[in-house]
């Protein structure tokens, strides 16, 4: 029953339903490359939307960036950010990555990137 991405028609429900009619996430620290991981895998999942459960299932084995979660679940990032903010508020997920510590590139970071590229 899985339609391919290209042939798939519009979803059964509009994206505004998925987000509960909201347009802005309640938190705003989900960059494309922010890592998402489960904070408490055993936490009760009742009351979550199917999309939110899918995020938790996807991230069960480990962390993925926001962009990767969006790609695997085929959800636009603007919608995904709202779902993630909810999940974070309820204590399901956390963002342990250090993207937000490196807003302005520093020498040490760029040197590490350069060395990493050389070593590829």
């Amino acid at each position: 029953m899985t339609a391919s991405r290209r042939t798939r028609g519009p979803g059964l429900v509009g994206l505004h339903v998925v987000t509960g009619g909201r347009y802005e996430p309640s938190r705003n620290h989900f960059d494309f490359v922010t890592s998402v991981c489960l904070a408490n895998p055993g936490l009760e999942r009742t009351g979550l939307t199917p999309e939110q459960r899918r995020v938790l299932e996807l991230c069960q084995p480990g962390a993925l960036s926001v962009a990767e979660v969006g790609a695997y679940l085929e959800l636009p990032l603007s919608v995904l950010r709202i779902l993630l903010a909810d999940l974070m508020e309820r204590g399901h997920i956390t963002t342990n990555g250090k993207f937000y510590a490196v807003q302005t590139a520093d020498r040490q970071l760029l040197e590490a990137v350069l060395e990493g590229l050389h070593n590829l």
């Binding site: 899985t2 480990g62 962009a67 790609a71 085929e74 636009p76 250090k98 993207f99 990493g116 590829l120």
Partner: protein
């Protein structure tokens, strides 16, 4: 269920979650080779994600005559490389159209810089992209993606035609070839290092 079987993450795709993540934009006009470049460099199967531009962007995205069209979807290709145990680099393909500016601006936030891919057979198509990247405030290097029938311009001729700042790197590459694509990224990051203020010991 959407997103089952074919789109599930492969083994080894997951991160620990405590890595530092950085991103570089691979910008360029349509069919310049952005997707190829990202595919060549990525260590995961390249992915595509979508961002939706809603009413907020109507000032730049002209939707007149399309009353049914309230949003524009922009597809973004991306790939991922683990540079070391603690550092992960994401490469995002950025469409160069000015009308995607709201999304590009979000994408550019916190990015280290941009690699602008150029096809010398259609050099002028790159000019708007360079304008957008400059507007985004990103430092960039030019990577000339060489095609078999690319005219044999010299770097100096291209620099002059593109009106490149004297210090901005221009490198020739083949987006299908890993060593040369890697070299283009190395030139970009080396350049970004030169832009930092001298560190005080």
């Amino acid at each position: 269920m959407r997103g089952s079987t074919t789109s599930n993450p492969a083994e080894g795709t997951y991160l620990r979650g405590d890595e530092t993540t950085v991103k570089i934009l691979v910008a360029g006009p349509f069919s310049v080779g952005k997707t190829t470049f990202i595919g060549t460099m990525s260590q995961i199967r390249p992915l595509k994600t979508e961002e939706v531009m809603t009413a907020a962007s109507t000032a730049v995205d002209d939707l007149r005559g399309r009353p049914d069209k309230h949003e524009t979807t922009v597809a973004l290709d991306f790939g991922r490389l683990s540079l070391n145990d603690k550092l992960v680099l994401y490469l995002f393909g950025a469409p160069g159209q000015e009308r995607f500016f709201p999304i590009l601006s979000h994408l550019a936030h916190g990015a280290l810089g941009a690699l602008v891919l150029v096809d010398t057979r259609h050099l002028a198509q790159s000019y708007p992209v360079m304008g957008v990247v400059e507007q985004l405030g990103l430092s960039y290097a030019i990577a000339v993606n060489q095609f078999p029938d690319s005219p044999p311009y010299t770097a100096d001729e291209l620099r002059a035609a593109m009106d490149l700042p004297a210090d901005a790197p221009l490198v020739f590459c083949d987006a299908r070839d890993q060593p040369s694509s890697k070299q283009a990224l190395i030139r970009l990051v080396s350049y970004l290092l030169t832009l930092l203020p001298e560190s005080t010991p």
